[in-house]
């Protein structure tokens, strides 16, 4: 029942929509639905990479520790977003701290199971990795726009 429910949820998420029913079934079999109350630390920067999440609702803040400044928010994630990509690609450490700002629901994948599935079934593995790459490329572009600081004060008058 739970696996079928997750499969239905995955079908609606932009990360996994368009996958075959067979692939969705495989992903559903290694995942679970979780509800996380607001103000909960899901993982901390430096933690061993363990889980990957697809957010269904709510909001999660990612922050990074800066000496003497504390944990500075760099991004918020919402419904449809991928949270915790590191575990899918490496077995190293989490690169940011994730804290729920609102009550949040998500599909959680144990990273070791997801990696094993991708190794054993390259068809589903390709699709998962391709979708992770797309999600990361969008986040990279968004980060570039942040770095460009496009809202900084203009140097000359044009039309305000």
């Amino acid at each position: 029942m739970m696996a079928q429910e997750i499969q239905n949820v995955l079908q609606e998420l932009r990360f996994s929509s368009g996958l075959s029913q067979e692939d969705l079934q495989k992903l559903a079999s290694i995942s679970e639905l979780v509800e996380v109350p607001a103000s909960t630390v899901i993982f901390s920067e430096g933690d061993a990479a363990a889980d990957l999440f697809l957010l269904l609702g709510g909001r999660v803040e990612l922050c990074m520790n800066v000496p003497a400044k504390g944990c500075l928010p760099v991004l918020t994630l919402g419904a449809g977003d991928l949270l915790g990509w590191s575990p899918a690609l490496t077995s190293g450490e989490m690169t940011a701290t994730a804290t729920t700002i609102k009550d949040t629901s998500a599909v959680r994948f144990a990273a070791d199971k997801l990696q094993r599935l991708c190794e054993q079934d390259h068809d589903v593995g390709y699709e998962v990795m391709r979708r992770i790459a797309i999600a990361l490329s969008k986040r990279l572009v968004a980060t570039r726009l942040q770095v460009l600081d496009v809202f900084a004060d203009p140097m000359t008058e044009g039309k305000s």
Binding site: R59, E61, G70, L72, P73, V74, L75, T76, G78, A79, G80, D81, I101, K138, V141, A142, L145, Q146, L148, D149, V150, F151, A152, D153, P154, M155, T156, E157, G158, K159, S160
Partner: protein, 291 residues
């Protein structure tokens, strides 16, 4: 050629009415955020006041004698033209000079100039207003018009990005706008402690947005050009076409009637063919280096 050009912009550029500023008095100055204030202007001449009308998205040339002229979008309600709002960020000599003025002082005003947001195309459709930084004021007249005829439109969304929480504009109106049927999502590039809103660029809000029908949506976008390019790209990913997207562009406007060429962007004069363009009419020019 887009069909939303103003009557004034299609008049002969030799018409004296386009070149002679009318006198306006500053009735009030509302500080918004650091380096940004809204100037509420009124014509001193009753006939000028009676005949003046503008459309959402158009701009005026504000003239400070001895300093110069600057193109400023009109940020007020088109149906209340007796008080003309201009939300101005200090960016050069004229706008810096304006900070020295006080209520009761006078200015010269030419306008309105340029094309406008195609409000007629919004009827019966969902409308996405995507903006960043000082790009909100040029959309504000459109917001007033949309909310006054709320029943004529589908879902209305404002997605607004700013550099940081302290420079979000017009927040004192957000509650009214929400009550009137506008969904508002804000995001900032750089967070501060205590900010519990979104962090990240405005394109991410568009990527996550629900409750709109891409096949029956109009998107208006105003902000830095690079932001608008990536908003359009995200909109394409969400199923919109270039014909559904309108952007307001910015260049160095001098004459405002397409004669001097300062604001030329390829074959387009931003002052008279724009500033509002349908995206397919201007997109190829936005990635040309040096234009």
């Amino acid at each position: 050629m887009i069909s939303n050009a103003s009557k004034m912009a299609t008049d002969s550029p030799r018409s004296p009415s386009l070149w002679v500023p009318k006198t306006v008095v500053i009735r009030k100055i509302t500080p918004e955020v650091e380096n940004v204030a809204t100037y509420h202007l009124a014509f001193t001449d009753a006939d000028a006041a009676a005949s003046y009308r503008f459309k959402p998205g158009q701009f005026n040339m504000l003239y400070m004698p001895g300093v110069g002229e600057s193109a400023i979008s009109i940020s007020g309600d088109p149906e209340s033209p007796e008080l003309l709002d201009h939300t101005i960020r200090v960016a050069g000599n004229v706008t810096r000079g304006l900070t020295q003025l006080k209520p009761g002082d006078t200015l010269g005003l030419r306008g309105p100039f340029g094309s406008s947001w195609p409000m007629g195309q919004c009827v019966g459709r969902d409308v996405l207003l995507v903006t960043g930084g000082i790009g909100l004021p040029p959309l504000r007249p459109a917001i007033y018009q949309l909310l006054k005829r709320r029943q004529d439109f589908g879902n209305l969304h404002l997605l607004y990005g700013a550099r940081s929480p302290d420079v979000l504009l017009h927040q004192n109106e957000f509650d009214d706008w929400k009550r009137s049927g506008l969904t508002i999502q804000k995001t900032v590039d750089r967070s501060v402690f205590g900010w519990k809103g979104n962090v990240g660029v405005v394109t991410l809000l568009l990527e996550r947005l629900h409750s709109f029908d891409p096949s029956n949506t109009v998107l208006f976008c105003c902000g830095p050009e690079v932001m608008m390019r990536f908003v359009a790209r995200t909109a394409f990913d969400r199923g919109l076409t270039a014909e559904q997207i309108w952007v307001s562009t910015e260049r160095n406007m001098q004459c405002a009637v397409g004669l001097c060429g300062h604001c030329q962007l390829g074959p387009q004069f931003i002052c008279k063919d724009g500033p509002v363009f349908r995206y397919d009419q201007i997109a190829p020019l936005l990635t040309v280096e040096g234009l």
